[in-house]
C-alpha cells in the first residue's frame, strides 16, 4: 500500500564487481509510452518526499501526491460537515440499521406506507452519502451498522469474544503458527502495527477468528485485512466482528477456505466482466496471453489493501460494507479502464503490470477512482453477479477437481 519500504541494507559485498563476465542491467522497466515518460521526468524534477497518511502509513510520493492528499483531507472534512448536518436534522444515529419490517407494525396502511417511504429515502440518502465517503471518526459506528455486524453480534452472548479469548489461551494449531509467522510481516512499517500491543491485538483477532471458523482457519491475506480493520475500528472486538461479517456475509463463500474456490469463481466472473465492460483492453491482453487474474487475485484477496493508498482502500470498503462485494468488480474494472489507452499500447507483460502497479500506488484521490468505477463502468446489479457466480461455480469445481486428480496421480507414480 505504502510505497517502497526503505531500510538500511547490508551492502552487496562487492559481489558484482568481482565477476567480470556478466553485469546487472538496472533499467528493467522500458518506457514504452509518452505518458510514462512524462511521469518519470516529473518525478525527477520533483523531490520525492516521505509523509504519513491519514491512517499512519508512511507513503513516498512527489509534491503532486502530497497536494492531492491534502485536498483529500480537506474533502474528508467537508464530508464530515455534511454528516453532522444530517445528524442535526434527522437525529443522531439516523443511519443505524433502518427497521424495515417492525417499524410499520400496528400502524394504519397510509402511515405504514409513509414509514416505508421514509426508510427508502433514508436508505437512498445513506447510499449516496456513503459513496461520497464516511468520515473516519464515524466509520466504526456506520460500518458495524450497515454491514450487519451489529446484528450478527446480537445473536450471541455479550461475552462471546472474551470467552473465545480465554478458550484459545496457550493453544497451538497450524493456524496459530502461521499467524505468528505473519505478524511481523503485516505492514511492517506501520508505527502502531510494529509495536508489541499492535501485534498482540492483531494476533488475537486472527486467532479468535481461526477458532470461530475452522474451515477458514488462517489464510494469508486476512492479516492485512484484519490489520486495517483494527486501525479503523480501534477496538479488537469490533474489528473481529467486521472480519466475521465480511467473510460470512459480505464476500462470496469460500474465498479463503481450502483451495480458495470462491476466489477462483470471482476471478472468472471478473474476466467475463472485463470482456463485457472493457472489450478492447480485454482483447488486447488476451492477445498478449496476459491473464488478468495474475494481478487481480491479490486485489480481491486483500480487498485492495496491499495496492491502494489507505484512504482510497477505505472508501472502497465503505461501499463494500454498505452495498456488497460487487464494488470490488467496479473498482477492479475501473483501474483497467482508467489506463485504457496506455494499456492498449503495451506489448509486454512487464509493461502491463508496471502500469497497473504505478496506477494503484498513486491513487491518492479516492473520488478519481470511484467516479470511473460507477459512472464509466455502468451499473451491475448484485443479482447479475450472483448469476455469473452460479454459472462459473461448476467450471471452477471441475477444474480444481481435475487438478487434484492429476496431483494424486503424481503421488501414485512415486510408489
Amino acid at each position: 500500500m505504502f510505497g517502497p519500504q526503505t531500510h538500511s541494507e547490508p551492502s552487496n559485498g562487492g559481489f558484482l564487481s568481482q565477476k567480470t563476465n556478466w553485469r546487472r542491467i538496472t533499467s528493467s522497466n522500458p518506457t514504452t509510452s509518452a505518458t510514462t515518460i512524462t511521469t518519470i521526468t516529473k518525478k525527477a524534477n520533483n523531490l520525492s518526499v516521505k509523509f504519513q497518511d491519514l491512517y499512519g502509513f508512511s507513503v513516498e510520493g512527489n509534491i503532486d501526491d502530497v497536494n492531492v492528499l491534502n485536498e483529500v483531507r480537506e474533502r474528508v472534512r467537508q464530508q464530515g460537515k455534511e454528516w453532522w448536518a444530517l445528524e442535526a436534522s434527522k437525529g443522531a444515529n439516523w443511519y443505524l440499521q433502518p427497521q424495515h419490517s417492525s417499524s410499520g407494525e400496528g400502524l394504519t396502511v397510509p402511515s405504514k406506507l409513509t414509514a416505508i417511504a421514509n426508510t427508502i429515502t433514508s436508505t437512498m440518502t445513506l447510499k449516496k452519502l456513503i459513496r461520497k465517503g464516511i468520515p473516519p471518526v464515524l466509520r466504526p459506528k456506520v460500518w458495524l451498522s450497515v454491514s450487519g455486524a451489529t446484528k450478527k453480534r446480537s445473536t450471541v452472548p455479550l461475552s462471546y469474544y472474551n470467552d473465545l479469548l480465554v478458550a484459545i489461551e496457550g493453544k497451538v494449531t497450524p493456524a496459530t503458527m502461521q499467524i505468528d509467522h505473519d505478524l511481523p510481516r503485516t505492514f511492517p512499517c506501520h508505527p502502531w502495527l510494529d509495536t508489541p500491543e499492535g501485534k498482540a491485538a492483531l494476533r488475537r483477532v486472527l486467532v479468535v477468528y481461526s477458532f470461530r471458523d475452522s474451515d477458514v482457519g488462517y489464510c494469508q491475506g486476512l492479516n492485512y485485512i484484519a490489520a486495517l480493520l483494527l486501525l479503523v475500528m480501534k477496538t479488537e472486538e469490533d474489528a473481529f466482528w467486521m472480519l466475521a461479517v465480511l467473510l460470512e456475509n459480505v464476500l462470496v463463500n469460500d474465498c479463503y477456505t481450502d483451495n480458495l474456490s470462491g476466489c477462483h469463481v470471482e476471478q472468472r466472473v471478473f474476466r467475463d466482466l472485463l470482456a463485457k465492460k472493457c472489450p478492447r483492453i480485454s482483447a488486447h491482453l488476451e492477445a498478449m496471453e496476459f491473464d488478468v487474474s495474475l494481478v487481480a487475485t491479490e486485489w480481491f484477496l486483500c480487498l485492495f489493501s496491499k495496492s491502494l493508498p489507505s484512504e482510497t482502500t477505505l472508501r472502497v470498503w465503505d461501499i463494500l460494507f454498505n452495498e456488497g462485494a460487487k464494488v470490488l468488480f467496479h473498482v477492479a474494472l475501473a483501474i483497467f479502464k482508467m489506463k485504457e489507452e496506455e494499456l492498449l499500447r503495451t506489448h509486454q507483460i512487464g509493461d502491463v503490470i508496471h502500469i497497473l502497479q504505478s496506477t494503484t500506488h498513486h491513487l491518492f484521490d479516492p473520488d478519481e477512482l470511484l467516479t470511473v468505477a460507477f459512472d464509466k463502468i455502468g451499473s451491475m446489479t448484485a443479482n447479475t453477479i450472483t448469476k455469473q457466480r452460479k454459472k462459473q461455480e461448476p467450471a471452477v469445481m471441475a477444474e480444481l477437481d481435475q487438478r487434484l486428480r492429476r496431483l494424486n496421480s503424481v503421488k501414485m507414480d512415486e510408489k
Binding site: 547490508p10 552487496n12 528493467s28
Partner: protein, 213 residues
C-alpha cells in the same frame, strides 16, 4: 529485429516453495540488492523483471514470486504455466519446507513445461546453527531429479546472483537446443516472440554466438 543478433531473450521464471522460505527475499536481493528483516507475506504473486548479461547475450527475466501458503497451491498453475525456468526454494532450517519443495519438483516434472530449467535453492544458508536439511541430502536429491542446486542466503547475498546467472546460462544453452528441434511454445521468447519463431530469421547468428560462450 536487430537485437535478436544480440541474443536478447525474454524468459518467464517462477519461484515456488513453502511460506516463509524466502522467495520474495531472494527476488528482492536479486532485483534491488536489498534485504528486509521483515518481508511482507506475498498474496497471489508479485511480479518483477530483471535483465542479466551473460557474455554477449542478455536474458530478461520476468519473475513471478508466488505465495507459499498451502491453500494458494491452487493458484500456482497460472504462474508456472509457460515458464521457462523455476526456482524451488526451501529453508535449510526447516525439514517441512524441504518436503514441500520435493512436492513442487514432482508437480513441475508432471505438469510444467518439459524444457523448463529448474533450480533448487536451499535458502537461509546463513542460519548454519539451525540447519535441519544437510547439504548432501539436498545435493543427492537434486542430482537424482536433474535439478540445478545451490544453497543461498538472501540475507548475506550468498549465491543469489549466481543462481539466477546459472539459470540464464542454462537457458541460453537450451535456447540453442530449442532452435534445433524447433519445439514450439516453451516459454522462451526473443523480443516478444517465441524463440523458435524468431530463430527462423536469426538462427545462425544466435547459434554461433551461443556456442562461443
Amino acid at each position: 529485429m536487430a537485437s535478436i543478433g544480440n541474443n536478447s531473450l525474454n524468459a518467464k521464471l517462477v519461484l515456488l516453495g513453502d511460506m516463509g522460505a524466502g522467495k520474495s527475499s531472494l527476488v528482492l536481493r536479486f532485483v534491488k540488492g536489498q534485504f528486509l528483516e521483515f518481508q511482507e507475506s506475498t498474496i497471489g504473486a508479485a511480479f518483477f523483471s530483471q535483465t542479466l548479461a551473460v557474455n554477449d547475450a542478455t536474458v530478461k527475466f520476468e519473475i513471478w514470486d508466488t505465495a507459499g501458503q498451502e491453500r494458494y497451491h491452487s493458484l500456482a498453475p497460472m504462474y508456472y504455466r509457460g515458464a521457462a525456468a523455476a526456482i524451488i526454494v526451501y529453508d535449510i532450517s526447516s525439514t517441512e519446507s524441504f518436503e514441500r519443495a520435493k512436492k513442487w519438483v514432482q508437480e513441475l516434472q508432471k505438469q510444467g513445461n518439459p524444457n523448463m530449467v529448474t533450480a533448487l535453492a536451499g535458502n537461509k544458508a546463513d542460519l548454519e546453527d539451525k540447519r535441519k536439511v544437510s547439504t548432501e541430502e539436498a545435493q543427492t536429491y537434486a542430482q537424482e531429479n536433474g535439478l540445478f542446486f545451490m544453497e543461498t542466503s538472501a540475507k548475506t547475498a550468498t549465491n543469489v546472483n549466481e543462481i539466477f546467472y546459472e539459470i540464464a546460462r542454462s537457458m541460453l544453452f537450451l535456447g540453442v537446443l530449442v532452435s534445433f528441434t524447433s519445439t514450439p511454445a516453451t516459454g522462451l521468447w526473443c523480443n516478444g516472440q517465441s524463440i523458435w519463431k524468431c530463430n527462423r530469421i536469426s538462427h545462425k547468428s544466435s547459434k554461433e554466438e551461443l556456442r562461443t560462450e
